[in-house]
């Protein structure tokens, strides 16, 4: 861990308020300035700055040779990124929607994830796959999924789920410097979220969960956009004198098991929240880590709250039913605390 990793902002740290989108942009710009081998490849990444405008302006500073507009060939430019990573570059591959992971899984799961192990440690693929997650954008079934369980299932990949501008910037810089392939999933609905980040350079290490809110009665483990849901639920639970602790693992791989288990040993209750499908998902893995690690301290079964196990529907009335909300979390938390 470098000295940059250890920097946690204090009251004296000069801070500025920026959006999640700006945090991502700034992390890329800083790393591209620092290291000439870092480059971006993807669809509409240059002048367009992606359809979400997250990369706007990077092409002006770094040129089209390092911010490369690719054809709509996700498997092609993903695999090319792997080849470039194996031969001295540090690509950041832009996969516009997380749903397109379905198109590029050979490059990620069979190539990048395995090349280091399969070559007996002789080759490596330092590459970041930036993509998205999150529903409620009225984008229907093929542009709304949160598929972080897929890369999390594959040994050899690291998986990052930032929930704040501070985490997003520090984690993305760490991802670019990592010598292993990293899948970095950004919540589409959080890009406009504002937050304080240090003016000076900093990194956020992988495998270190962040306690977003301290509490004593129940642990809400939440990833990505579910951190906001958990925090809102924690505020509401105060009305019933339930003190909820909100923990964001920040990376599903590596997973900070110790912090999760320690929290549940303290509270005796846990709800695990993740925007991905619930069946066989991130919530299942984390719930089992808690059940195995804190079994004798549990006062209630560990509960899971993920996306409803249906293809994401278009109609707002239906789509809103598929995601966990603060009120749903409050209801489950009260039940776990013996309140009806």
């Amino acid at each position: 861990m470098s000295t940059l990793d250890a920097r946690v902002p204090t009251a004296d740290t000069p801070m500025r308020e920026i959006s999640m989108s700006q945090a991502i942009h700034d992390a890329l710009a800083e790393e591209m300035r620092r290291d000439p081998t870092v480059f971006i490849i993807g669809e509409d990444v240059a002048e367009a700055g992606t359809p979400f405008k997250v990369l706007l302006g990077l092409v002006d500073e770094f040129g089209k040779q390092r911010v490369i507009d690719a054809p709509i060939s996700e498997p092609g430019f993903t695999s090319m990124g792997v080849g470039a990573a194996m031969t001295g570059m540090r690509p950041v591959v832009d996969i516009m929607f997380g749903d397109f992971l379905a198109l590029v899984m050979d490059g990620i799961a069979n190539q990048a994830a395995k090349v280091h192990y399969m070559s007996g440690g002789k080759l490596k693929a330092p590459i970041v796959f930036r993509t998205t997650l999150g529903a409620t954008r009225r984008a229907a079934a093929q542009h709304s999924q949160s598929l972080q369980a897929w890369p999390s299932h594959i040994p050899g990949l690291k998986v990052v789920l930032p929930s704040t501008p501070y985490d997003a910037k520090g984690l993305l810089k760490t991802a670019i410097r990592d010598d292993s392939p990293v899948v970095f999933l950004e919540d589409k609905m959080s890009w406009q979220m504002k937050g304080l980040v240090p003016v000076d350079e900093y990194l956020v290490p992988f495998g270190v969960a962040d306690i977003k809110r301290a509490g004593n009665d129940i642990t809400l483990v939440a990833t990505s956009c579910m951190v906001q849901v958990a925090r809102a639920a924690a505020e509401k639970l105060q009305a019933w004198s339930i003190s909820a602790e909100v923990i964001d693992p920040r990376t599903t791989v590596p997973l900070d098991r110790d912090t999760l288990i320690a929290s549940v040993k303290k509270t005796g209750r846990a709800i695990v929240l993740d925007p991905g499908y619930q069946q066989y998902g991130v919530t299942a893995e984390i719930a089992s880590v808690i059940a195995e690690g804190a079994f004798y301290y549990l006062d209630a079964p560990v509960k899971r709250m993920g996306a409803l196990d249906v293809p994401v529907p278009f109609s707002p009335v239906l789509e809103d039913l598929t995601v966990p909300t603060p009120d749903k979390v409050v209801a489950v938390a009260r039940e776990l605390c013996g309140m009806r």
Partner: protein, 334 residues
């Protein structure tokens, strides 16, 4: 670059001296004896798993790799032993890998289908058909971005022409003038199916559609392979972009060592014809003897030398220790 004429091939290879040819011949013999030995290791139950033999296709790997520098990259396939040896891998390390030993190229973690050797520019054999084309094209992008003068070669079979990734790679390589040479080894059988049964149109028209120059040659004649590879590698090194080489060849063995009874998909007479009339080693021997003053005794010395090398490699691999148990969890992350 259209299909090269016989006179162009003649000019390109006339300048090659006999020592270079004999070096290439020795590499071909090495691949032949290596894979014959692999078949033996399978049949005698000494090798775990399966392997895909390169027998009959030796001239392609050797002819292409002779046109490359050590620092140039290759990506290989499930049928990759020939490419690895042609690029300079050692027989000892390869046999050790095939037997799952710690001294193998991948510490026994890769096996036959994943031999990688960065020291000789080998980015790895690959068990996903066509996947090497994406990696080699990415290496080409990396070469261009680093302003290096390397070249990347993607070896694959005609079966890979069924993969969309190959066309996506060709499009980007052509658009961005990447220093990549695509070498399609058309051994005429896509696993257990004759390739014409699963390929529409003409193979050569496909890369041409992306503006990539194509040459279609006799992959059994190493002179043609070497001449075409030299032209294509030079073009890539100059910065003029990718080329596509189709080598017509023949897979002597089955799809893998366990594919013994194959008369249902191809006649034994066809196999016998290629081995008798179109064998790349026999063809080379014939013109080495008639045109280059090489004697039977020189060829025999090469055979004896390689035989000893293979024998040593097998013995070395059999004696070598297996990986220690803790290695199972090492190198998952870099």
């Amino acid at each position: 670059m259209s299909q090269s004429s016989p006179s162009e091939r003649q000019v390109a290879t006339d300048r090659v001296n006999v020592d270079t040819w004999l070096h290439m011949y020795e590499r071909m013999v090495k691949i032949r004896l290596f894979d014959e030995q692999v078949d033996e290791l399978y049949k005698t139950g000494k090798m775990p798993g399966l392997a895909h033999l390169y027998l009959g296709e030796e001239a392609i790997a050797v002819g292409v790799c002779q046109a490359l520098h050590t620092a140039d990259y290759i990506t290989s396939t499930h049928r990759g032993h020939g490419h690895c040896l042609a690029k300079g891998a050692s027989v000892d390390g390869m046999f050790a890998e095939l037997l799952g030993k710690a001294a193998g190229y991948c510490h026994g973690k890769g096996g036959s289908m994943h031999i990688a050797d960065p020291d000789t520019g080998n980015l790895g054999a690959n068990a996903i058909v066509g996947a090497g084309s994406g990696i080699a094209t990415g290496a080409g992008l990396s070469i261009k971005m680093r302003k290096s003068d390397q070249v990347a070669v993607a070896f694959f079979g005609e079966g890979a022409m069924g993969q969309g990734l190959v066309y996506e790679s060709l499009n980007m390589a052509s658009m961005w003038k990447l220093p990549v040479v695509y070498v399609c080894e058309n051994n005429q059988y896509t696993e257990y199916t004759r390739y014409q049964e699963v390929m529409s149109g003409e193979l050569r028209n496909r890369p041409a559609a992306f503006g990539v120059p194509v040459d279609e040659i006799d992959g059994q004649d190493i002179r043609q392979v070497y001449a075409a590879a030299q032209r294509m590698v030079a073009r890539a090194r100059r910065g003029d972009g990718p080329s596509f080489l189709i080598c017509k060849t023949y897979r002597y063995s089955g799809h893998h060592v366990g594919d013994i009874n194959r008369a249902y998909y191809r006649p034994k007479e066809e196999e016998a014809y290629w081995k008798a009339e179109r064998d790349p080693l026999k063809l080379m021997q014939s013109w080495l003897l008639s045109d280059y003053g090489v004697t039977d005794s020189i060829l025999d010395q090469i055979f004896q030398r390689v035989t000893a090398e293979i024998r040593h490699g097998v013995e070395y691999a059999i004696q070598a220790p297996y990986p220690s148990p803790q290695e199972v969890s090492e190198d998952v992350y870099a």
